[in-house]
């Protein structure tokens, strides 16, 4: 870049092929990651089946809650809404959850296998993203059958489908949920440069995530809980945090809980968090590799 980038001409000329080349490298990585994932297809089948178990418990729990009360809805959710909500968060979490990502990064730092990415002209975060996209694609290919079956069986719980623009926003929110989940967990994994074991940090993160993402209950149920600040509820605060966008937000979009101005504000907050976490992840990588001692051979 040094000598040749004096004028703007060569730079303009150079940039597109670089980008294209980067994309080609990334696609090759994706293809190879896909092949690698397919080695473990049996594990995937089992994992997919297991994913449906917790939701059954949730549905039973809420059925019991509703049968114990005479109210038709709790914080704006009817019994059908709750079932639809849980099924949708399950779908969202199929995008945003990143099993083993942080732990895997920390392990490769600890056992030294990360040094390959320091020596080769390849971007580690880009590689992780390719691996995770491959992971997800193989998962969806396997999981689409049980997912379709469950949604078909439970179609009675769902309100009529939203209009096309909302569906588009919903799909965008799923992709953003994937990116947000990826960058949050990858950043946690990078902490492995500073601490030997990140599993307890990841556990803490999962706990907060479970509570505040809407995985445990819809976040808007927190609207009635005051924070002490006048006119501000816990739900108002939580919507500015990233967690809700990994489970609650896409489900709420589909169910029409968030609309109009609110929808765009929320989408902007989500995009903002994706950018912030992507930058944080890169910063952690840069600082971490600078202090990396490459222990463990």
């Amino acid at each position: 870049m040094s000598g040749r980038s004096v004028t703007l001409e060569p730079d303009r000329h150079v940039a597109p092929p670089r980008l294209l080349e980067g994309l080609r490298v990334w696609c090759t990585m994706l293809a190879i990651c896909l092949e690698e994932r397919l080695v473990y297809r049996g594990d995937f089948l089992l994992g997919t089946a297991m994913r449906f178990l917790p939701i059954v418990t949730q549905i039973f729990l809420w059925t019991a809650v509703f049968s114990a009360t005479s109210r038709a809805d709790i914080a704006g959710y009817t019994r059908d809404d709750v079932v639809a909500y849980y099924l949708l968060t399950m779908l969202t979490r199929a995008f945003s959850s990143m099993p083993g990502l942080a732990g895997g990064i920390a392990r490769s730092i600890r056992d030294g296998s990360i040094k390959k990415f320091l020596v080769q002209p390849v971007d580690f975060i880009g590689f992780l993203l390719a691996a995770r996209v491959a992971h997800k694609l193989v998962y969806y290919a396997v999981a689409i059958v049980p997912f379709a079956a469950v949604f078909l069986l439970c179609r009675g719980y769902f309100p009529p489908p939203p209009d096309a623009p909302t569906v588009l926003v919903f799909l965008a929110s799923l992709v953003l949920a994937f990116l947000l989940g990826f960058f949050m967990e990858a950043t946690l994994g990078m902490l492995g440069f500073w601490v030997l074991e990140v599993s307890s940090i990841v556990f803490g993160y999962m706990l907060v995530q479970y509570l505040l993402s809407g995985h445990m209950f819809p976040i808007d149920m927190l609207a009635g809980i005051p924070t002490g600040m006048p006119g501000v509820s816990v739900a108002d605060l939580v919507q500015w945090l990233p967690f809700g966008y990994t489970a609650y937000f896409p489900a709420a979009v589909w169910l029409g809980k968030i609309e109009g101005q609110e929808l765009f504000r929320a989408l902007a907050v989500e995009v903002g968090w994706v950018v912030v976490m992507a930058l944080a992840c890169r910063a952690a990588w840069h600082r971490g590799t600078r202090r990396y001692g490459a222990f463990g051979g």
Binding site: I32, E35, V119, Q120, P121, T289, R291, G297
Partner: protein, 349 residues
């Protein structure tokens, strides 16, 4: 070795230039016992370990350098610094004109590092897939890629293994494929960390022949760490001995033998089991096994002792050898003597 004549003068075009390179680690001491462990939760004692203490070195294009030293001497730290995996505490280094730990892609496309067995190859996939990925990340032109890959694979005799998942291969087979992966982009500098560790003699020989060929054909600058003197004898003209993070010796292999041995090993096969006095006049008997005697003879005395031995009617056979390299190097490691006088660091003889 025949390519020594064509070797460029290291001081005019150094490929590797190192000045005052030092690396310190902070290690935490964890005392023994549960009570002490609990105490160390609140008060940790740490100390600084100097893995490398201000090393100077210059390596010219096409040189084949062995880094020798006992475990923990700083060899691997040195390779990690030169390949940019870690950042030094002090000092500078340039490899191919680049500061390694800046990790520019232009630099990373021009060198390779082979360290350990599970390095670049994807464990669950055939090596061919890893090669394909390398083609992309090193931007190797497809026709060139095919040519280089086929050549390397044939040299090592592993063509039939490239389509087998790597995890099903033996240690030696994996190492050979690691070497192929490392050389696909035709690096100008190659760092090898114990490339023959744990391999059988045949595999070691194959790898020696391969490295010799690659280095001679492409004038690759190679730096390797090893504990096997066979690697050194087969490959390296230049030896750098590191102990306690310092360069103790830098020179040719022949010079090590010259400089650090005072005697030769003379083995005699006699007619009968000799009396100690009978053989002691030739030299110091280190081993007497039946009619075979192994003697240590001062190098200065060889010329006068040998004629006597040959005239000795009771001697059936005689052989004269240098002290095994292993012994010389082990002695060198144990000694704490400073760098030989008149041998400035970094100067290749």
């Amino acid at each position: 070795m025949d390519n020594s004549a064509s070797r460029s003068n290291p001081t005019s075009t150094p490929v590797i230039e190192v000045e005052g390179l030092a690396k310190e680690y902070r290690v935490h001491d964890k005392p023994e016992g549960l009570a002490a462990s609990v105490r160390s939760l609140f008060h940790r004692t740490s100390r600084v370990v100097e893995a490398l203490r201000g090393v100077d070195l210059q390596v010219g294009r096409g040189e084949f350098v062995a880094l020798l030293g006992p475990n923990g001497a700083g060899k691997t730290t040195f390779l990690k610094l030169l390949s940019g995996i870690i950042t030094p505490s002090r000092g500078t280094a340039r490899v191919l004109g680049h500061v390694p730990w800046v990790r520019e892609n232009e630099f990373r496309r021009r060198f390779a590092l082979v360290m350990g067995q599970r390095n670049q190859l994807w464990w669950d996939l055939p090596a061919a897939e890893s090669f394909r990925l390398h083609r992309e990340i090193y931007r190797i032109e497809p026709s060139r890629f095919t040519r280089v890959r086929d050549e390397l694979v044939d040299l090592l005799g592993v063509r039939q293994l490239v389509l087998q998942p790597v995890r099903e291969l033996s240690l030696g087979e994996r190492m050979k494929l690691e070497l192929v992966a490392a050389l696909l982009h035709e690096p100008e500098v190659l760092f090898l960390d114990e490339p023959t560790i744990g391999l059988d003699v045949v595999a070691q020989h194959t790898i020696h022949a391969f490295l010799r060929h690659v280095q001679a054909e492409r004038r690759v600058t190679v730096m390797l760490t090893t504990h096997y003197m066979k690697d050194v004898a087969a490959l390296c003209e230049r030896v750098v001995v590191i102990t306690h993070g310092d360069i103790l010796y830098d020179g040719s292999l022949a010079d090590i033998v010259d400089r650090f041995t005072t005697h030769k090993i003379v083995t005699l096969d006699l007619d009968e089991v000799p009396s100690p006095a009978r053989v002691a006049r030739y030299g110091f008997p280190c081993e007497v096994r039946g009619p075979r005697v192994v003697l240590r003879v001062d190098r200065g005395r060889i010329a006068e002792v040998l004629p006597d031995i040959l005239r000795d009617a009771g001697v059936r056979d005689v052989s004269v050898e240098d002290v095994p390299l292993e012994e010389i190097v082990a002695e060198l490691f144990r000694s704490t003597r400073p760098r030989p006088v008149g041998e400035p660091a970094g100067a290749s003889p």
